[in-house]
Symmetry: C2
Subunit: 291 residues, 2 copies
């Protein structure tokens, strides 16, 4: 199948490569040195997003944020200008659920289909084709795209209508961010109270405090190894999506807001490129500095 893939960053490159390996012809935009290997494997470099859409049956986007998706879809020589009836746009970026509903309507008005299908699992999951994929859109459109999702991910859920995939992704990032913050408060509390955080973590692993975060990120906090993983700067973007959507919904999310603020402080103190488990360092600062 002719598939467009726009957004060849850290996540997009391995995802596109899995589709090439599965035998698809990929049409790529803005091929750089980092993505030249995809052309070497048979990918076609196109001159614009419009040209990508023109050449493809399905166009996949994997871009940093809402404005990037809007520009690529609806900007000059954008995807929308190259679409024709029956084509499918799949946005796998993590962007605003509110804007997504508008984007879907505009693409559907052209006689095309739209899915939002953000992922979690990071670079490791993208490389291993083990991403969690949360999909919003019509059931039959989801079924059409499913074989492609199965080349990129493992845990694939059709959550609901347009925007619901992005909503699930934001919900995921709220839980992950706030649980990391919770584990950081608890382990820092333990240390400051004179206990060994490693032993406290071990004691808590069997009970209701047990989580993937306590297991993985709790260990990073105990060992103070903060290589990403998932960067605080990127997680702040997701918390901002949550806070912005909450404002649009007149919804009060007190701990999401507070955790976004802590991430601002983390970035201000030079930890933006560290793993999000480094949020414990920001709490240390509040407590008078490390140790």
């Amino acid at each position: 199948m002719n598939i467009g893939f726009i957004g060849l960053g850290v996540m997009g490159r391995p995802m596109a490569e899995h589709l090439i390996d599965a035998g698809h012809t990929l049409h790529l935009n803005r091929v750089k040195e980092t993505s030249q290997h995809l052309v070497d494997k048979g990918g076609k470099a196109a001159a614009s997003a419009r040209a990508v859409a023109h050449a493809s049956d399905i166009v996949i986007l994997m871009l940093p944020d809402t404005p990037d998706v809007e520009a690529v879809l609806f900007g000059e020589d954008g995807v929308a200008s190259g679409l024709s009836q029956g084509k499918l746009v799949i946005d796998m970026s993590s962007i605003s659920p509110v804007a997504t509903k508008t984007f879907a309507k505009r693409i559907e008005a052209l006689g095309c289909d739209y899915l939002d299908a953000p992922v979690s699992g990071g670079e490791v999951g993208a490389k291993a084709a083990s991403l969690t994929i949360m999909v919003g859109g019509k059931e039959q459109v989801f079924e059409r795209a499913k074989p492609l999702f199965e080349k990129m991910g493992k845990n694939i859920t059709h959550v609901g209508g347009s925007g619901d995939g992005q909503t699930a992704k934001v919900a995921n990032q709220i839980i992950v961010g706030l649980t990391i913050e919770a584990v950081a408060e608890a382990l820092l509390f333990a240390r400051k109270a004179g206990a060994d955080p490693a032993k406290v973590r071990a004691a808590l692993m069997g009970g209701f405090a047990a989580s993937r975060i306590l297991e993985v990120h709790g260990e990073r906090m105990v060992k103070e190894t903060f290589e990403p993983g998932f960067r605080i700067r990127l997680h702040r973007k997701d918390m901002t999506l949550a806070v912005d959507a909450a404002r649009a919904l007149d919804l009060s999310l007190p701990n999401t807001a507070a955790t976004q603020q802590l991430m601002n402080a983390a970035i201000a103190n030079g930890d933006g490129e560290r793993d999000h488990s480094a949020l414990i360092r920001t709490l240390e600062l509040l407590a008078g500095g490390p140790r």
Copy 2:
């Protein structure tokens, strides 16, 4: 062995019964109608905490809060007045880690041993003898008490010195409370954004958002079944222990503090006796009322 057990509430009764079933002679204080069955099974009713301590080799406390433990240990006719050299006091209540270090010193000054050994797992865990037990105190004292702990719990950890068991329990309650709040923010966000919270929860179960809380309490939120479980009123007590200890340590725990405040609001709105997963109802109120 002669064992004193003071505090025959919802937790203490089944814990004491397991020790009787294991063949120990239990000395009990303030036997009421609800605990008469323990006397019928061979437990001895004593006239005071002092009399309990006098008759026992090991005295176990399972009381509501720090002032109760202080009064039973050091008040008139308290445990301390009935102790003699070599006896062991085990406080299984969930109380202040800071006060615990003082209590331990005062008991050890009498030539006796002291362990703090708070539990998690609730009434269900107490009845099933499957409690998680977090122990602070000397290693050899822990070994002395271990056979008794094994009659009441499964996941038994010697965390460190005096107070460290209580510190671990507070850390546990911070993580549990804040993770419940996180799941509540995420599922309410999903619902208000128009997605099905049940499907969002299912989509998130395989990734980094996965936790015992998302599994158990997330389901209670989706189904709106808020029978305890663990009452918000009791969890607020634990959050207050955390906030008070943080003040004593000059430690800033922003989300613990905010979550304690939400629990105040939950209790003000009549939800104090509901399960802590009902915290989502307080967030609903902030968002303009249920649904």
